[in-house]
């Protein structure tokens, strides 16, 4: 039983286990804080800045990003003060400046009452630089295919030397975790393509399922899963069978492995 920490969020007394973030504590209490970069399977990085809250009580009054702020005894959190709403609108406007057509961003803007952005740059780039894709590729998959390049305003996600990646295994987790759909994965026939704003990350040829004949995964991905996810658990997969057929077969289905071990629900 972890130690419980008592804090107050929007006047509500809440107890949260030690080590959780303010954002998680608020979520558990059913309090909505907008965020784009937070993903439950990934370490928080505090990049989108939308989850700002006003803190006081046991620490000096300040505005902090709630996803990387740990809960503290006696903390008083306010999520909807005038100051927060004003700053959050500003952050949304800044994000919209480069991604004016991003649907998720527009949804959030509507919720927060942002009508237009004062910072339109004329660019149309759905990537908001939250780094979910980089984090999942690095920390969860371990393929290290994506990285940050440049810095400041020119910062962007790319592969090494911005060419087709030889390290990408074609799992598509980057596309799956992207909050705005800036990274996309497309299967067409026996070809899989992972692409972003203006750069194709990787191209793969898909393998056919031996049972139903459907194209389902690149060879590299299958080998990776065998080596990283199934072998340590003592499971040997010999046939090339798609997840649907695997479920129908009589052999014991592979034990459900948590997301963090590099296994995805698709497999």
């Amino acid at each position: 039983m972890p130690t419980m920490i008592n804090l107050t969020i929007n006047g509500e007394k809440i107890a949260a286990p030690e080590g959780t973030s303010v954002l998680q504590a608020a979520r558990q209490a059913g309090i909505f804080i907008p965020t784009l970069c937070d993903y439950e399977a990934l370490e928080p990085e505090g990049t989108c800045r939308l989850c700002i809250v006003e803190l006081s009580g046991s620490i000096r009054p300040c505005i902090r990003v709630s996803c990387i702020q740990e809960v503290k005894e006696g903390l008083v959190v306010e999520t909807e003060t005038e100051r927060i709403i004003k700053n959050r609108r500003l952050i949304l406007e800044l994000l919209l400046g480069r991604s004016p057509y991003c649907r998720e961003l527009l949804d959030l803007a509507g919720k927060c009452g942002v009508m237009t952005s004062r910072f339109l740059t004329g660019e149309d780039d759905d990537c908001i630089r939250c780094g979910r894709c980089v984090r999942v590729c690095r920390d969860k998959i371990g393929a290290y295919a994506l990285c940050w390049v440049n810095r400041g305003y020119n910062r962007k996600v790319a592969t090494d030397f911005e060419r087709l990646s030889e390290y990408c295994i074609g799992c598509g987790s980057c596309a799956q975790v992207c909050p705005t759909g800036a990274i996309k994965m497309e299967d067409r026939g026996n070809q899989r393509r992972i692409y972003t704003w203006g750069q194709v990350v990787a191209r793969f040829e898909l393998e056919k399922c031996e049972k139903c004949g459907r194209y389902f995964a690149p060879r590299k991905y299958i080998d990776w899963m065998r080596r990283k996810a199934f072998k340590p658990k003592g499971i040997e997969l010999i046939d090339l069978i798609c997840p649907e057929c695997l479920r129908k077969t009589e052999r014991p289905a592979p034990a459900k492995v948590p997301f963090g071990n590099g296994a995805f629900p698709a497999w």
């Binding site: 290290y144 990285c147 940050w148 390049v149």
Partner: protein
């Protein structure tokens, strides 16, 4: 690719962990830039993913992925220098070297770079060539300064 040079650089570092930036510094001063093939070789030798090395090489201004000229000309465009007319100095250098910021001359003698404040505001406008700082530079002095470094 220069395997011998790379191995000599790597031999200088007893451990790889925490020394990546040091290694990149050595490579930068040896090759004058960071060649892709050598970075890939470094990645293979050190087991550090190439994406991480690329990220770091991209992040710091000291590292260049393009071949750099023998001499680096840095023009300070900080507030004080800007007020004192660094813009005109910059234009003069651009015209004389026939390059833009971040580029190198065709004969690989000079690279031109802009910096934001080098902490020598009392000398504004300041120009740094390699390690040498020139203060209160007027556009008409540029030719003389560049001649000194030309071989």
């Amino acid at each position: 690719m220069d395997v011998a040079a790379m191995d000599a650089i790597l031999a200088k570092f007893p451990t790889i962990r925490g020394n990546l930036i040091g290694i990149l510094h050595e490579m930068q001063s040896h090759f004058n830039y960071l060649p892709e093939e050598d970075l890939r070789y470094l990645s293979k030798k050190t087991q550090i993913p190439i994406t991480q090395i690329y990220s770091i090489a991209n992040f710091y201004n000291r590292f260049s992925l393009k071949p750099k000229g023998k001499n680096t000309v840095c023009v300070c465009l900080g507030t004080a220098c800007h007020v004192k007319g660094a813009e005109r100095v910059m234009d003069e250098i651009k015209a004389q070297l026939k390059v833009d910021v971040g580029e190198s001359t065709d004969d690989m003698q000079f690279s031109l770079e802009e910096v934001r404040c080098i902490g020598a505001c009392s000398l504004a406008p300041a120009v740094v060539v390699n390690e040498e700082t020139y203060g209160q530079v007027a556009p008409k002095q540029i030719h003389g300064i560049l001649q000194k470094f030309k071989k």
